[in-house]
Each structure stands twice: as structure tokens, then as C-alpha cells.
């Protein structure tokens, strides 16, 4: 997994405090409007996101860059591939 500081994030969504399925919804909405090749980050404090977000990215066939733990939340980063 790359360092978060090495990645250029094009769109940064703060979904902290939002409950399942909120952060996943934010990610899906964000991906819709992001140009192909763009990198999206979603910050989530919902423990369900750790499994839900990678599962959706895989299903939707985008590129999962990684999960970066922060204080009390995690930033999930993915690149839109199509």
C-alpha cells in the first residue's frame, strides 16, 4: 500500500458520523461525478465500511488504493477506472 502523502486526491469526502450505508452511498455518488482516472477519498467512522467499501469497489471494478487509519476514522482511497 502506498503512503497517503504520495497520492494526489482529486475529491475528498467527509462521511464521518454517517451511518451504514451512508459512507458507501457517499462513495458511490462521488464516483459517479468523478472523471475517469480521478482519485476519490472517503473518510468514514462506520466500522462496516472496512468491508463494504472494498467489496463495492471490487464489484464496480474500480481500483482500490487502500484504507488509511486516522484518529477515530479511516480514509478509503480508490481510483475511478471506467
Amino acid at each position: 500500500m502506498p503512503e497517503l502523502t504520495d497520492i494526489t486526491i482529486d475529491k475528498d469526502i467527509d462521511a464521518r458520523g454517517s451511518f451504514c450505508p451512508g459512507p458507501l452511498m457517499e462513495l458511490i455518488r462521488g464516483m459517479k461525478v468523478l472523471p475517469v482516472g480521478g482519485v476519490l477519498a472517503v473518510s468514514s467512522s462506520d466500522p462496516g465500511s472496512a468491508k463494504d467499501i472494498p467489496a463495492w469497489i471490487q464489484k464496480a471494478k474500480h481500483e482500490y488504493i487502500g484504507a488509511f487509519p486516522e484518529q477515530g476514522y479511516t480514509r478509503f482511497v480508490a481510483r475511478k477506472t471506467h
Binding site: G17, F19, P21, G22, L24, I28, W56, K59
Partner: protein, 138 residues
């Protein structure tokens, strides 16, 4: 088998409608078509504007009702209707009203929230559900 999740929405209490909306979102997110067949007390929950004032919760956990509502407000949990609309935004989600209940309660399609688009019979629902991968009764 088709990639479809069918849910029989029998209950009209907020806790169960939240479960319906959340599961529908999960289904829509993972690429399943989602069909809700709303019957009996579920239709009371889908009456126009009812979701704004409906505070009913399941009888077996009735004593938890006020605290649940309080927590939902404090944590700004979206209403189940907002969650359901979100599911409709990201995927193929259809809501059907049970014709038998509609007649029983003298309801018309226009009495219901606009997310309900069609009135259908049980046989049609079952016929479609049998081709799907998942059927839930809530």
C-alpha cells in the same frame, strides 16, 4: 436465476422500515435489482408524508422507542425514506403496492408516497421473486 432481491414489506414500524431501506441500499449497491412488495401495515408506512410523523416501533421493543428516536435525531440518522430514495438513485429499485391491501384499506396509488409506482397482485410478485436470488419478509 436473476440478480434480484425481493422484499415483502409487511411491517409499518420505523425500525423495520429502516431495515428494509438499508437492505435495499445494500442490494442496489451490489448491483442487484431490488423489488419491494408492500403489503398490510407496510402500506400504512408508505402513505403520503407518513414517514415524517411515524414513530411506531415494533411491539416487542416498544419500550426502546423513545430512546431510539432520540438517538436517531442526535446522531442525525437519515429517515428510512431518505435512505430508500438513495438506494433508488444508485440502483434499480421498484416499489409495488399490494392490490388486496389497497382495496381493504380503500387506498389509491395517489395516497401513497411517489416512490410506489404500481399496484400489483401477490401472484405477480411471487412469480418474479421465484426467479430472484433472495427473498426477505420484513
Amino acid at each position: 436465476m436473476e440478480d434480484r432481491m425481493s422484499i415483502i414489506v409487511y411491517s409499518g414500524t420505523v425500525d423495520k422500515l429502516m431495515a428494509v431501506a438499508t437492505l435495499a441500499t445494500g442490494g442496489a449497491a451490489m448491483g442487484l435489482d431490488v423489488e419491494l412488495f408492500v403489503t398490510f401495515w407496510g402500506l400504512e408506512g408508505f402513505r403520503k408524508d407518513a414517514y415524517k410523523t411515524n414513530m411506531r416501533i415494533s411491539k416487542d421493543f416498544e419500550d426502546y422507542g423513545p430512546i431510539m428516536m432520540e438517538q436517531m435525531m442526535a446522531k442525525k440518522v437519515p429517515s428510512w425514506m431518505e435512505t430508500l430514495k438513495g438506494a433508488m438513485e444508485i440502483g434499480n429499485v421498484k416499489v409495488y403496492a399490494c392490490s388486496m391491501t389497497m382495496e381493504l384499506f380503500d387506498m389509491k396509488l395517489e395516497d401513497l408516497e411517489p416512490v410506489v409506482t404500481e399496484v400489483t397482485g401477490v401472484a405477480t410478485f411471487v412469480d418474479r421473486a421465484k426467479e430472484g436470488k433472495m427473498t426477505l419478509f420484513i
